[in-house]
Every structure is written in C-alpha cells, then in structure tokens.
Amino acid sequence: MSTLGGAIAWLGANPGTFGTALLDHLLLSVTGLLIGIAIALPAGVAVARRPRLAEATIAFAGLLRTLPSLAVLAALLPLLGVGFTPSVVALAITAIPPVLVNTVIGLNTADPAALDAARGLGLTPVQRAVGVELPLAAPLVFAGLRIAAVQVVSAAALATFIGGGGLGDLVTQGLALLDTGRMLVGAVAIAALALLAEAGFGLLERRAAAGWRDAPA
C-alpha cells in the first residue's frame, strides 16, 4: 500500500514530468510503428506473389524477430548516436516482422478463385491490390498490426537506455533514485499502453471483416 501511495503521491507532485514522458512514449511508438508499417506492408505486397522471395522474406522476418530489442538499440548506438532517431529506427525494426509475415500469409491465403476472377474481369494490378487482395488479407494484416503495436509500445520502454525518452525514463530514474513511486508510475503506464494497443487494434481487426466473413457478423 505504501508503494502505491508513493506512486500516487509522485504523480500528484509531478504531472508535467509524467505527461512529457507519456507523450514522448506515444510519439516514439507511433512514429516507429508507422515507419515499420510503411516498409513492411508494401514489401509484403511486393513479395507475396513470388513464392521463393516470399519464403526468404518470412525467414528474414523470423531472424529480425529473434533479435532482442535491447541488442538492436545497443548496435544502433555507434551508428546513429543517442536520442530519438535511433530509438525510432529500433522500434521500426521491431514492427516490421509481424506486419510483413502476416501481410504475406494473408495475401497468399486469399481465395485464389477470387484473385483469378479479378484478373479475368479486367482489374488493373493496382485495382487488384487495393480492391481485392488487401481487403481479403485485411483480417490477418490487422492481426499483424496488433502484434506490432503491442511489441512497439513495450519495446519503447527501452529507449531510455539510449536517451530516447519515454515512460522508460521514469522506471530507470526510479531505480537510480530508489524512488519506487516514480518507477511504479512508469511501469504501470507502460503496461496500460500495451493493453490499450492490444484492445484498440483488436477492435480494428474484427471491424476489418465485419459482415463478409463466415463468422457471424
């Protein structure tokens, strides 16, 4: 109880510090996620129809996924220095594998008859990608976005180690100053953001196929 009381007391005394950390955390996460999506989604569309390339891409994504975020951050330090930029790059790298893999699998498991019909009826490649392939892949793509969002929000807590800011700062400062209240505020906020990301993207995922999927609408 005293720990929780300490946390509430710290939050009451330092709303500005908390607000800045929270905004930094969100900015880091959203930027990293958007960059990751901007790379992974078109890459997935580009390789999905080429079986060998798709296989290699999935293997590469698996490799990326095994890299610990902290190791990526440390490796980026000599290349990009400290601060916001290397943190965002590391988060983008975290976001790529789930989006890429789910896009490739989503596109490759889309009904081949519908794809054949789309070609045969005279849709252009862009019309097919936007109007048929991506909508059919959407449920899996959104699942990939959800996984990526949760991972990025969690990994953003590590940005503090290379001066990227965010809620991780509260945890490291709390540890250094033996200020358990400050530490707890950071930890709980990180966990809450991850849960929110899970719930929000989960909702998007269900919306993506509302009506047309076999599951009761």
Binding site: D111, A113, A114, D116, A117, A118, R119, G120, L121, G122, L123, T124, Q127, V132, P135, L136, A138, A209, G211, W212, R213, D214
Partner: protein
C-alpha cells in the same frame, strides 16, 4: 466470333508445348466446349483468349479484332469470365460483385443499378432478395448464378467459362446447365467452355473440341462427334455409352413418330430420346405413346441413334 489460329503456348523450361498449333473457330452466337483429360491444354487455351496466359505464338481474333494487339486489361473487360465456384469477391455484396465490370467501364450509378437488377433477373435471382447478400450466405448454385450474372453485366459478346458448374451437386448442375444454355442462346453470346465432363460438353457445346497433349484431335458438332468419334482416343474419351449420350441430345419432337397409339404411360414430347429408351427398358415394351399423339418405337430409336450410317 472467336478465331484461334496456330495458337501455341510453351511454358519456360517445358519440353513439350502445353498447347500446340491449335486452330479453331467458334461462330458468332454459338458455343464450343473444350474437353479432354487433365493436362490436355484446354484451360491454357481458354486462358489465352483473355490473355491470363500469354501465347507463345499464333493469333487470336475476337469479332475480327486482334486480341494480342489490344491492351490486356481492356480486352478482359470486354469478355465475360465465369470460373469454378464462381470466384466471387467474398468482401463484396452480390450487387457489388455483379457491378464489377460496369464500374470498371465507368458507367454512372443509375445505369449500373439498373444493369445489376437486369443481370440478376436474367440468371433467375430475385434482385430484391439477393442484391444485398454476402457470397458466404449463398448456396453453391446461387453463387454460380451470381458468377454468370457478373460475367454478363458488361454485356460482352464473348464469354469464357472454366468448369462453370464443377462445384455444384448433379441435380442443381443439370438445371443450371439448361438455364444457362437457354440464356446464352437467347442472348446470342459466343461462348468457349472448358469442362472435363462429356455430358456437360455435349449439353452446353454446339460444337465439341477434344484435346489431347496440347493438340486438337477433333472438332465437330456434338451429335456428329458422338455418332462418329473418328479417332480411337476420342471414342474412348467420350465413353462406351456415347450412343446413349447422343440420344440424350434429342427429344421426342425431333424423332420419327408412328401414327398408331401404343399402350402404356404417355411421354411428353419434350422427353429426351435417352429417357424414352430408359422408359421402354423399365416397362419392358417396344413402343410407348406420346402425350400429343402417336407413339415412339424402339426400332425408330435404334435407327435414330444407330451410329454414323443413320446419323440424323
């Protein structure tokens, strides 16, 4: 009219061409069924017509236009395409599926809505009931009908059908075949159909083209090819019961009729000769009456269906 001249497709790395030097004409307003064992090149041939497969060499003329010189996307919008299981877009309603080509052609909303209604009615689906349904809410036969409506929506002169009724049960298939046949005849469409089913080929095709290993073995009207296969492979492929299959192409109204009445249950004049023969076998009689007068005899059926020397 569809004209294929010297059409050849050799896939990269393949020793044998998938389709070799195929020449075939489907006259305006008629249908031709491409048939043969799997791997014979029938589907490749069909897919070359709308350039889903690019020919290695040869010529394709559609209504006098060189299909290989046209933009592939423009070409496809002018050709109806029906595939197995319908190939409907699962994320679009029935109306949106049917509207695909009219939308691509840039029609205005009112014209598209009217055309969707008309196309659904043509294939026997009540637009009010089906317009807003999702494909997963339809039966296999209904999906197939929507597939045909979608192919007809842009009012193309030429239709390509790839195993169009392969995924529906036999009873539904027979009804769909009859309805679509009448529909395509009344609309005067020129149709190329791929099937592996002899019954379907002779039912839907005014002419039947038998392929084997990428080569055209025989191309003739359905009744003629059944009466005289002209090639041992074609004969085997059409089956030992091809004479029966051929009888199924004609109805009592086509056959000679005796004036004298016969005992037994009368058959309607629309009965196929095959069913008439089956009725005689079942009743153990050599003649049966017809509802609009007279009778049909076993001897007449034998003469009518009795191979090349008696071909009608």
């Amino acid at each position: 009219m569809i004209t294929l001249r010297g059409l050849t497709k050799t896939y990269p790395g393949a020793a044998q061409p998938a389709v070799a030097d195929l020449t075939l004409t489907v006259p305006e307003g008629t249908s031709c069924a491409l048939i043969g064992p799997s791997g014979c090149g029938k589907t490749t041939t069909l897919r070359m017509v709308n350039r889903l497969v690019e020919p290695t060499s040869g010529e394709i003329l559609l209504g006098g236009q060189d299909a290989l010189r046209m933009d592939a996307v423009t070409l496809r919008r002018g050709i109806g395409y029906v595939i197995q299981e319908g190939g409907l877009f699962p994320h679009r309603t029935v109306a949106e599926n049917v509207a695909t080509v009219p939308r691509l052609l840039g029609w205005d909303a009112a014209r598209i809505a009217a055309r969707v209604e008309a196309a659904l009615s043509l294939v026997g689906l009540d637009p009010g009931r089906f317009r807003d349904r999702w494909p997963h809410q339809l039966s296999g036969g209904e999906r197939q009908r929507v597939g045909v409506a979608r192919a007809l929506a842009g009012d193309p002169p030429v239709l390509l059908m790839d195993e169009p009724f392969g995924a529906v049960d036999p009873v539904v298939r027979a009804r769909l075949q009859d309805e679509v046949l009448h529909l395509l005849r009344s609309l005067r469409k020129t149709v190329l159909i791929v099937t592996h089913d002899v019954e379907e080929a002779v039912r839907l095709g005014d002419a039947v083209a038998v392929l084997r290993a990428g080569r055209l073995l025989r191309h003739a009207p359905a009744a003629e090819i059944l009466a005289d296969p002209g090639d041992p492979f074609v004969a085997e492929f059409l089956g030992a019961d091809r004479a029966l299959t051929r009888l199924g192409l004609f109805i009592l109204a086509d056959a000679p009729r005796r004036a004298e009445a016969a005992p037994g249950t009368p058959l309607p004049p629309g009965t196929s000769l095959r069913d008439a023969l089956a009725a005689m076998l079942a009743a153990g009689v050599r003649a049966l009456p017809v509802t609009d007068g007279g009778s049909v005899t076993l001897d007449d059926l034998l003469t009518f269906g009795g191979g090349p020397s008696h071909a009608a």
